[in-house]
Subunit: 453 residues, 3 copies
């Protein structure tokens, strides 16, 4: 009986850990909503908020119907490409045994995150129907398939066959919490969308110079960033997926490395932009924190704290550089979602191959060989993990762009991708959503209120 | 010793689960505060915020002094009507054994939720003293007694005596997380208040047509809804009250069904209102999500995911319909709290009798008979559970309205229910709270600031 | 094997509890950010937000490099003054065993809280460089040393040698969750800063009368307070540091006493200010809640619920009184951080010596004697605990002011402490941060937007 109690408590704790981490990841939706709202003009506030709300809603239905099956269903294909058979949570879920519902919940929250990233890149000028099309497509197919490749036993997880003490074993890409799987997918889909949909009116003047379009509330952007940071403690430590079997040691390492990388990303960005622009730039600092958090996401369970600081700092530089390149290419990404999630995401996705420590991989149950040659190259782990992750980065990039580009181009050809210039000038809120987010007659100061009433 | 460790860890995990769920439910206060603030005019912002703050504060004292005793104290009455003897946490709480404090904490957070719902229905024109009277009354008496009936061993939990394998057992209403106990009580109390206090000035024009009074910030309303959704993961899964004894399987089901019902509620509302009003209505979508979340609250632990989708969809339709009926009746409910919590709550309270699956009730320890005839009618469970829940809905409705109506009428007769028209026009904030929520000289743009200073 | 599972589950649960509590404490950063932003004028919003963001970021690096070592490193000094040897998490952290990372994470969140408190006191007129200097100094040295004295085996924890059944044992100050260690340090550092930097322009008129400078958003202040209250459930119950060994009983007591003290603080403040100023003052009520929460922080694990109500009520009165004294002394503390965290903090720090119940100390493993004479004086515990805590209050006050005063004076002498009057008039955001927080051309109503574009 003690054995039963002990086993059940261990299991219950693991389920609770996954659920709670999922709650925190879900709260990132609120974080993205506030960050996006604060970063756009008030005339499009309701529009971007509604898109964020629907990422969670449409994402839940899409992931329930198809996404979870594609990601974690049984893979009967020879090429380990896609799962199947669990559509609408229909199979493999017993009644009183572990029903797998905690896993679905956690993974749904991840899928919704990927979709949300895109909405920032195409904000303020993309049509609502276009948005709904790619949001469903992304959460139902594009993202789940990638997660299958890396986490669901797909081909990216089994690139190599390496020799171990017990004979040949499979080894492949390692992405602990979804730096490539979630952030790169979202970031590159966003980049594709931003290019095809084109810049906002007035973003570049007649001579091609950048015109700043500040968002309408730095406070909302800050609140959003704090909520995202908070949610990241579900995203990264939660990716241990269990506290048993040493998972709690993994989780606490993740909490520390995530903190240090995010903090460093913010500080480095603040300093670099102070040197470049001679202001202490709050919004850039917030984005730098996010870039640091993204950068550590793949390797958070496997690296030393000092390495986390370096990784976060580099992530911030990659973010800053990517921002400059985007503007130089006249690509308008209102939330800088590609520099943060795509560019810093690609950097972060390569970090396991450089910084992973063998012992920490072992603790996390991800030491395929038990030997000394499949971890971070800077720690004597050889180059194969780096190559595997580099291959993943390339494959995920090609897959995402290759699927999303035709969709956006098709919608553009059909004329349903972008709102009209008239609508863009008066704003989505008035043209599509029944009125502004902050109605003037609801917000005047009291002394004027009497006159109005 | 291992036995002791295993038992204590199991107990500690259960307590932690209840505490943490309570924290999340408490955060719903912040959610309600933001939703309410965003949904009223800025001239009453501080007023509604203060009311929300006091729901938590006054609720804590009221529930500590009386509420918890009425709800979970020993019931010595023959009719199983009310508990007693635990006033001010005075009895039955040992020192080193389970002190029951986690239970009090969790139940307080629920009581505060019920009170908060009401404040939305009567917002913008009700006097502060009237508010304090009903808030105390509701958390100290009205709500606790209902919760005693359903959860504390009261008469609604023991309506029937049914035959089981081991002889006759009691069976009654099943409301897993408080769809009738919390939401219906709040919703019907709010409806009563909204009717007695009357509509806001200008809500209906001289011909009786509805004049829209939009709230002052769609962003705050969205933030509030996300926080509420987040808190619902404490409300519904947390109502398992333990992770041991299979509670974690119950909790993960709740997380999934809650998600799907809320998501569906939002999508259905968005589509219906697009067809009706030709706009994508953010605020209605948010309320639709809440209606979906309310609808699943009674049966979240017992239904299939696809049923959750249906229940959430129906909840959204009930919400939309109730909104139209209210306006047709010239009842002004600024937060649409009755349509969401009262009407969709009544629908949700009936769902266990329709959709509950026997095996899931068994897992949750709520299978009174062990046979096949006391669960959802659509799953072969007979009609008795539906009848029991229908009786509960009627009893709770009569009880709530029957107690709250005299209170509101009395306050109206005494002239202390509603603020004066002058105060209503200039707003509560200036007349009662020392100034507006967003002082003009604190918020002007910088270029004008220099001139002012 | 069952023994191993049981032991590991217990350990995993403890780590999870600490991590999760740390997440909640981290979210207090968002709470402080919103509270501070809402309490200042909009022209300084980005400035105070950035300071809050950097508290977390700079605090993480400072605490990683030095703070944690000073606080919890090995203390080789004869006077038990400071720890050492764990700089940059370099020592004592094994690979697969408990790495101590959860402890670092939790303590970092505390350190960042102490720094944040100060930023409120000196808001709106202090230079950014000055801020960065004291933030680093406080999280790297001032606070960690204090925490070492009280929690890390330092001299304040071993003031007395008392007789126990098993011979003489050390006994000293008891501060369960950091009322003196965190709040008093932050509050007194803030007071020192507010005095040296001087009042904001226009805070006192030419005759020395107080001119109200209301903050720009009561909504943000309310949101911030709710987030802080929420985070306090990590701060206080989390300070049990483990759920095993009866820790869960301690945690649930903390949750209840924290709730009751905060709620009472809010209600008492509301009533007192209604009697004094004849308005229902939302912002004062929020600060009263915080004062109540601060007051219970030292003794939350050890007192009866009714005592928590008394302690919270007294905390509110201390807060109100301190506010009046500050203004009478012409000290300008925009967030009232000293009255809340310093003054109510000092009151709270003395409460264990008055209200602690012996059995509850025993449950929490803090009954040094096992006898009847080292707990709350009002419960027959003698006066030594009160004396020990009084000594702590004095020492911490002297230490904090003694270190922070020279720093602020030095910066003032060097002319780097305060921004110029011109900058203060146009606001930090325009002069330092590249523009206002709410750009006018991003926030105009839609009807005017067309004309602008």
């Amino acid at each position: 009986d003690t054995q039963r109690v002990a086993a059940e408590t261990s299991r219950a704790l693991d389920v609770f850990f996954v659920l709670l981490s999922g709650y925190l990841v879900f709260l990132m939706q609120a974080g993205f909503a506030m960050l996006t709202a604060g970063s756009v003009r008030s005339k499009n506030t309701k529009n971007v908020l509604l898109k964020n709300v629907l990422d969670a809603c449409v994402g839940a239905i899409a992931y329930y119907l198809f996404g979870y099956a594609f990601a974690y269903g049984e893979d009967t294909s020879a090429v380990e490409f896609i799962g199947s058979g669990y559509y609408a949570l229909s199979k493999g879920f017993g009644v009183t045994s572990n029903s797998g519902f905690n896993s679905f919940f956690f993974q749904w929250a991840f899928a919704a995150t990927a979709a949300t990233i895109v909405s920032g890149s195409v904000a303020e000028r993309t049509s609502f129907y276009a948005y709904m099309a790619y949001a469903f497509f992304l959460t139902a197919f594009v993202y789940p398939v990638v997660s299958h490749w890396v986490w669901g036993g797909g081909f990216l997880a089994t690139i190599f066959t390496v020799e171990s003490a017990t004979g040949p074993v499979d080894a492949g890409t390692i992405d602990f919490a979804g730096c490539s799987v979630v952030h790169m997918v979202g970031g590159f889909a966003g980049l594709t969308g931003a290019i095809v949909v084109g810049p906002r009116l007035g973003r570049f003047d007649s001579e091609g110079k950048v015109v700043p379009i500040p968002g309408h509330s730095a406070t909302l952007a800050t609140l959003g960033t704090f909520l995202l940071w908070f949610g990241w403690y579900g995203f990264n430590p939660g990716s241990a997926l269990a506290l048993s079997g040493g998972g709690y040691i993994v989780a606490e390492r993740c909490a520390v490395t995530t903190t240090l990388a995010g903090a460093t990303g913010g500080i480095v960005t603040l300093i670099v932009l102070k040197l470049r622009d001679h202001i202490f730039d709050l919004l850039a600092c917030l984005n730098g924190i996010l870039a640091g958090l993204v950068s550590i996401t793949a390797c958070c369970a496997f690296v030393h704290p000092y390495a986390a600081i370096f990784i976060g700092a580099m992530g911030a530089l990659v973010y800053i550089l990517a921002t400059m390149v985007l503007l130089w290419c006249k690509v308008d990404d209102p939330l800088e979602a590609f520099p943060i999630h795509g560019a810093a995401g690609a950097w972060g996705a390569l970090c396991p191959g450089l910084f992973n420590v063998r012992e920490f991989q072992e603790t996390a149950g991800l030491d395929p060989i038990g030997g000394d040659d499949y971890h971070g190259g800077l720690y004597g782990g050889g180059g194969r993990l780096f190559v595997a992750n580099l291959a993943s980065v390339a494959v995920i990039m090609v897959w995402t762009v290759g699927l999303v580009l035709p969709l956006f181009v098709l919608m553009r050809v059909l004329g349903i991708l972008r709102i009209s210039p008239e609508e863009e000038i008066i704003g989505n809120d008035v043209s599509k959503h029944g009125g502004v987010a902050y109605p003037i007659d609801a917000t005047v100061a009291a002394e004027k209120q009497a006159a109005i009433d």
